[in-house]
């Protein structure tokens, strides 16, 4: 089973935002990098594998004009593409993209405020790399911006705008395993709970749309053609990406789910919620029998913590990290 390891101390506390933890394992380096949004800034920590060396960096939300109140970041996530890794930050003003260590900003995209009705909140949220070439970012009006990322340099352009959602995007996830035919490369989720499955390319195509059932989907993952979605009522649901069919329903948490992650080599699913619990599940798919199964592996109670971020730290799912609202540390667990 998993045992608690030494936490990583952060210089600032974590904000109560969905999917508020991102982890990067730079290939060929004995390092683990973590990022957690504080509010107007994000903390990026690099931890040496021996657990002895740490380096911290803080990145600020770009204000982009006169603002009365501080601009808040909504999410930070590393996007791994074949040729490069970018650190993407989304905020109330727009989208910032940095080199993976956060040292240089390579691109800034300002959100078009006029697109939103006046009383509605404006922000970008939901980040994922897709199709080996694109980075997709969602907005509060339901749009998904598709950025074409060159192998190097700053010549990043908006290649497409996907307009299927009518509510604020909450999360976006790319296929982490091997998709069966027609199962899609990308899934996008929104505040109403609607899920869209896409195939990525020069032009993205909508493959299926999974209707909402009355609950926000705050976090989503895609693996071997199965969509795993976490909802505001504490449920995790598994759907077939290609058909949209519901295959499993788990009464997983007592409160709103804030984060899901998936370890692709083992099919392990991680879920974290406001109820202080983090659960590890095992997904299995059988392409011949079309069976989709999920079983519970481990429950961890992070005492007096509203979990806002949870990520596996290795592709087999033998270790994971957790952040909680108002806490200045990253909790770590390992087998």
């Amino acid at each position: 089973m998993y045992r608690k390891e030494k936490s990583i101390q952060l210089k600032s506390s974590s904000a109560a935002l969905y999917n508020n933890l991102s982890v990067l394992r730079p290939p060929g380096r004995q390092l683990l990098c973590f990022s957690a949004v504080h509010g107007p800034s994000v903390t990026v920590v690099s931890a040496a594998a021996d657990g002895l060396g740490f380096s911290h960096r803080q990145l600020q939300a770009k204000e982009g004009g006169m603002a009365l109140s501080t601009c808040v970041l909504t999410q930070a996530s590393w996007c791994v593409l074949p040729s490069r890794v970018l650190l993407v930050l989304t905020s109330q003003k727009g989208i910032q993209m940095y080199e993976s260590d956060g040292s240089i900003m390579v691109y800034w995209h300002a959100l078009d405020v006029t697109e939103h009705p006046p009383a509605q909140a404006v922000f970008a949220r939901g980040i994922a790399a897709a199709g080996g070439r694109f980075i997709c970012v969602g907005t509060s009006s339901g749009l998904v911006l598709v950025f074409d990322i060159p192998p190097k340099g700053t010549n990043i352009t908006v290649s497409e705008v996907l307009e299927q959602h009518r509510d604020a995007i909450t999360d976006i996830a790319a296929e982490l395993g091997r998709a069966p035919d027609g199962a899609g490369d990308l899934v996008t989720a929104d505040d109403a709970g609607t899920l869209c499955v896409w195939s990525a390319g020069e032009e993205f195509t909508l493959l299926s749309k999974i209707p909402a059932f009355g609950c926000t989907c705050s976090s989503v993952k895609l693996w071997n053609g199965v969509v795993a979605a976490g909802y505001g009522n504490g449920q995790i649901r598994l759907y077939e990406a290609a058909t949209g069919l519901l295959r499993a329903e788990v009464n997983a948490h007592a409160r709103w789910i804030y984060a899901l992650d998936l370890a692709p080599q083992a099919g392990k699913l991680l879920s974290g919620a406001e109820d202080s619990f983090v659960h590890v599940w095992k997904l299995s798919t059988n392409p011949d029998t079309n069976d989709v199964e999920i079983e519970h592996c481990h429950a961890e109670c992070v005492t007096d913590t509203q979990v806002c971020g949870a990520r596996f730290c290795d592709p087999e799912g033998n270790s994971f990290a957790v952040t909680g609202y108002d806490l200045s540390e990253i909790f770590r667990y390992a087998r």
Binding site: A16, A121, T243, V250, A254, A299
Partner: protein
């Protein structure tokens, strides 16, 4: 983030403020016949409560409040409550005002954090309003004002989705982030730990609309359930009995937002200055923000509609102390850690000609109160600025 957060923040903090003031006024009150000219009586208490509630629910003020807008900064909001607390004959020293604000904010932070569903923040607000209506139940005019606001709340918030409520909740939680002041009533009731963080129970009713965790169901491609398993955890949850009422009247079911103070349970705060979390809290907004002028214009406009009552008796006679003795209050003022002081915005109102003209016009509309003794803060105090004109 959410542009609909301010009314909820203002009304709930205002509600907590009224609970605390009511409790302190009762604790310090003297029966009418026995009271000297400078001591509190029951009549005085009711008058203070009425004055503050009337000001809080001022129609024009409420209109501005409900307009979609970003949250004020902590400092700007604190100034509003400073003003509100002085909307009557009552006076509070800086130390008492600081303590009042600490208690208000920690109480509402606790309520927001423990709300089972984001939508339940509305029930918390209704609990506060129900109590406020009870404070003014003998004054139909003020009661009407409160009911108006109640209706406006229902109109504005009833149609918001769960996702939008969660955004409001997240906006509030960002506002309250890094505040860990220890409140003795919370420590005694074991809802707050000694490090200032709140206790989050893993038992009790699940939110309305959520199932008790444990069941896993798997379906075949025809939608038939083919397998069912269960898992257990340390949590001990039960199904809730009923949902709270979102109507003008009704059983709210939720206890968060009801009055937890009583005369026999005095409220103290402990200020812990050693936690390094405070460093990030204190760093924000220390450099003067030139754009705070925008806030000042707005704030000034709002407060322009308020009448400032002139203190009738001597300064000390109508002073309310949030501490048990004057010495305690003085001691608290001297020992408050630097990083926890609510530094009021230093505004240079005379910088831009255009702004200066607008500002003067607005401030000119304010009733000029008797000059207040210089507050303990150095530099230009926002209130002193307005009073000096």
């Amino acid at each position: 983030m959410s542009a609909r957060t301010l009314p909820l923040l203002f009304l709930n903090l205002g509600g907590e403020m009224l609970y605390i003031l009511d409790q302190r006024l009762r604790a310090q009150s003297i029966p009418g016949e026995k009271a000297r000219k400078d001591e509190w009586t029951d009549v005085d208490r009711k008058r203070v409560m009425n004055d503050i509630i009337t000001t809080m629910f001022n129609k024009k003020f409420m209109e501005e409040l409900f307009k979609p807008q970003e949250l004020y900064s902590k400092k700007a909001l604190r100034t509003v409550y400073d003003r509100l607390a002085h909307a009557s004959i009552m006076r509070l020293n800086q130390a008492s005002m600081d303590k009042l604000y600490d208690l208000m904010t920690m109480a509402f932070k606790y309520q927001v954090l423990l709300c089972p569903r984001p939508k339940d923040i509305l029930l918390v607000t209704f609990n506060h309003l129900d109590a406020i209506k009870d404070f003014v139940r003998d004054s139909p005019g003020i009661l009407n004002q409160v009911d108006e606001t109640f209706r406006q709340l229902i109109e504005t918030y009833s149609c918001l989705s769960a996702g939008e409520f969660q955004l409001i909740r997240q906006t509030l939680l960002i506002f309250f982030q890094d505040m860990h002041i220890r409140v003795s009533i919370f420590l005694k009731d074991k809802v707050q730990n000694s490090n200032g963080h709140f206790v989050l129970p893993i038992s009790g009713p699940v939110p309305w609309g959520t199932e008790v965790p444990g069941l896993i169901r798997m379906f075949n491609r025809n939608g038939d359930e083919v397998k069912r398993t269960e898992f257990t955890t340390d949590g001990n949850y039960v199904t809730p009995q009923r949902e709270g009422s979102f109507d003008l009247f009704g059983d709210r079911v939720l206890k968060l937002g009801t009055n937890m103070y009583s005369v026999s349970r005095p409220v103290e705060t402990h200020i812990s200055g050693s936690s390094k979390n405070l460093a990030s809290h204190a760093k924000e907004n220390i450099t003067p923000n030139p754009l705070a002028k925008e806030e000042l214009n707005f704030l000034a406009r709002l407060l322009g509609g308020l009448e400032v009552k002139k203190p009738g008796g001597s300064e000390t006679g109508f002073r309310l102390n949030l501490f048990t003795t004057d010495e305690e209050e003085e001691h608290a003022a001297l020992t408050r850690p630097e990083e926890l002081s609510y530094k009021v915005i230093n505004i240079e109102a005379t910088q831009e000609p255009g702004r200066r003209a607008e500002l003067s016009r607005i401030l000119g509309e304010l009733e000029v109160a008797e000059p207040r003794p210089a507050s303990s803060g150095k530099g230009e105090d926002l209130l002193a600025l307005m009073d000096g004109l």
